[in-house]
Symmetry: C2
DNA sequence: AATTAAATTTGAACCGTTTCAATCAATATA
DNA sequence: TATATTGATTGAAACGGTTCAAATTTAATT
């Protein structure tokens, strides 16, 4: 069962394929009656001219980049996309976003498609759940397909723009320690998301640089959504043995932190007097919540903008460029969900 | 300044282009030393094999659809994308999202790219700011490129899946009227977004079906973000002459409604005793806010799923299909930001 | 060294369009 | 009526890869 081609249309219409082509492209030279006939046969045969073949001969100015994210409904990636888009649009590039949903197969499939479709380059937030798979990245390098990673991938020499998540969490923990907190726990993010992993790592490192002693039960596996924070919060703080106040929780992200606050309100536990809370991302809701959320502000939009900048620079470069690594710093924003421990 | 092609590489490496092709595709038949040589020349010449040309001959299973949205950072489109993605992934399709940012030129450019890249079809949330431009949609029809619209576009006979926004707002207004409200205003959305326009239209129609009398100053132009609701709220209710309580506000969307609530809290105006508020979308935050937001729940994810279903059905259909129109109904969710007017 | 088998490489056809100089048809002009 | 002009159509050559049967080279066997 072959697809119908321009030849089929031409034959059926009793004209040459050059004429059909002229109709497709709206050339004014073709006679009205011919055009009508060809058009109706195109419709009848459900003819879809193959874009790939068309672009082979004609010169089609095509400025397009990909943005391969991990999750669609994570505000982190929304901000990121906004940053990418702003820079890209200024430079006349169209961006196509696709999500791997943290599945490696998907990531691979998407990169293949980007290459197949002759997208000019892509930004990738790589899936990194335990085992690192990098074959597809090597492939991109072999094909000289420009890309920039939003995270360092072991074994791959490539452009990376990332946020210093480890340091960010360390700042948060240090802040709490300085406030006199002795009991600090972490509501951690989805395992597959590697910035979640980094935040976890930062949490551990912070302990080793403080008088506190780390133990694995300080990590409460949570997730990335409001209901994760809410449910895990109800679950954890619903148990009497966990209510050793005052204490503090560093959350994977703001949405989880807000969910946790709701949980604590339902349980009549005071924020911040009983439990201090620190979020991560500084989404718009964070500052408007009551109490306003203390959080770590990661320059996400900036991250996107920088990534786009490097990518587009690579795409348009004549010569081969040196690989570039860029690390953006996060910042602690102190609001109302943290307070000092009373002596 | 020509691009380097497979011929350049072949010549430089002293092999035939068939061999270079074999290297590109990782065929195991090529001798290791040859592979190395070719590879290094590919790198030296910065050779990027043209995907379009590659796919001409080989058979590459390519299941991809586009999703053309209006705004990146609008939760409406995030939910929509999730719905589309769920259905698409089940059927092995990859979705590429791109945003027009409500600019017509962009919309046109994106559709052109989708066609050029041989994406198999697309879902479109058309920009509709006043003047309707439909040339690009006609073009899609001519090329038999499958698409489904998320809104009826006058003059275009196409698949449409939409939400009955008009009726949704009418339900909201009727509910308020039944509660005894006499003064009901509308914080309207961005002018370019046509569902914002529909909601406005529903608001007007609701008046004509009630004892109330419509007047244009009941419409407060606002926007779609939290800060829009917040700032407009402070602005409007900061003025003494607008404080005719009790009254009610129907908001363009939830985020605006939540912003408005924050504004009222700052102004020490009670919700819902002084001002009843109704949102739109039923985002996750709505139910968790305090007070929990009364809102209109639009089946957004369902909208996306249905659109994807129809699109993919069209893509895979052998014969030409009849155009399909589907309207999904919204539902009023009563929570804590609305109350009856005391006699 | 001759023969056979296995490993590499290659020439030429092909994929489905666009392009454009050349041709053919229709109309206007002398 | 012959000729020039304009309008429509077309044939054949690209475009930049992939494919695969056939040719060539290298290694193994007798």
């Amino acid at each position: 069962m072959k697809k119908t081609t321009i030849n089929d249309v031409a034959e059926r219409a009793g004209v040459s394929k050059a004429t059909v082509s002229a109709v497709i492209n709206g050339k004014p030279t073709v006679k009205a009656s011919t055009r009508e006939r060809v058009l109706s046969i195109m419709k009848e045969l459900n003819f879809r001219p193959k874009g790939q073949a068309r672009n082979l001969k004609r010169t089609f100015i095509d400025k397009s980049i990909g943005l391969l994210i991990r999750e669609l409904d994570n505000p982190f990636y929304t901000s990121l996309a906004v940053g990418v888009k702003k820079y890209a649009n200024q430079h006349n590039y169209t961006v196509f976003i696709s999500s791997s949903e943290c599945n490696h197969q998907n990531e691979e499939k998407i990169t293949k498609l980007l290459v197949a479709k002759d997208i000019k380059g892509t930004i990738i937030a790589p899936v990194m759940n335990g085992t690192v798979e990098i074959d597809h990245l090597f492939r991109l390098k072999m094909l000289n397909f420009p890309f920039v990673l939003l995270e360092e991938v072991p074994g791959i020499q490539a452009n990376v723009v990332s946020i210093n998540n480890i340091d960010a969490i360390k700042k948060a923990v240090k802040f709490l320690v300085d406030l006199g907190h002795k009991r600090i726990i972490h509501f951690s993010g989805p395992e597959y998301a590697s910035h979640a992993y980094e935040r976890l790592k930062g949490f551990r490192q912070a302990f080793s640089e403080s008088p506190l002693i780390y133990s694995d039960d300080l990590i409460i596996p949570c997730g990335s959504h409001f209901h994760d924070g809410l449910n895990k919060g109800l679950d954890y703080f619903g148990k009497k043995e966990n209510q050793k106040f005052p204490m503090a929780v560093v959350c994977y992200n703001d949405v989880v932190a807000l969910g946790l606050i709701s949980a604590l309100q339902k349980l009549n536990i005071r924020v911040p007097e009983d439990v201090s809370i620190i979020g991560n991302d500084d989404i718009e809701f964070a500052r408007h919540w009551s109490p306003a959320l203390t959080t770590i502000s990661t320059p996400i939009e900036e991250l996107g903008r920088k990534a786009a900048e490097i990518l587009i620079h690579n795409i348009e470069a004549k010569e081969r460029l040196k690989v570039k690594k860029l690390v953006l710093e996060a910042q602690l924003i102190i609001r109302e969900t943290t307070c000092a421990v009373k002596k």
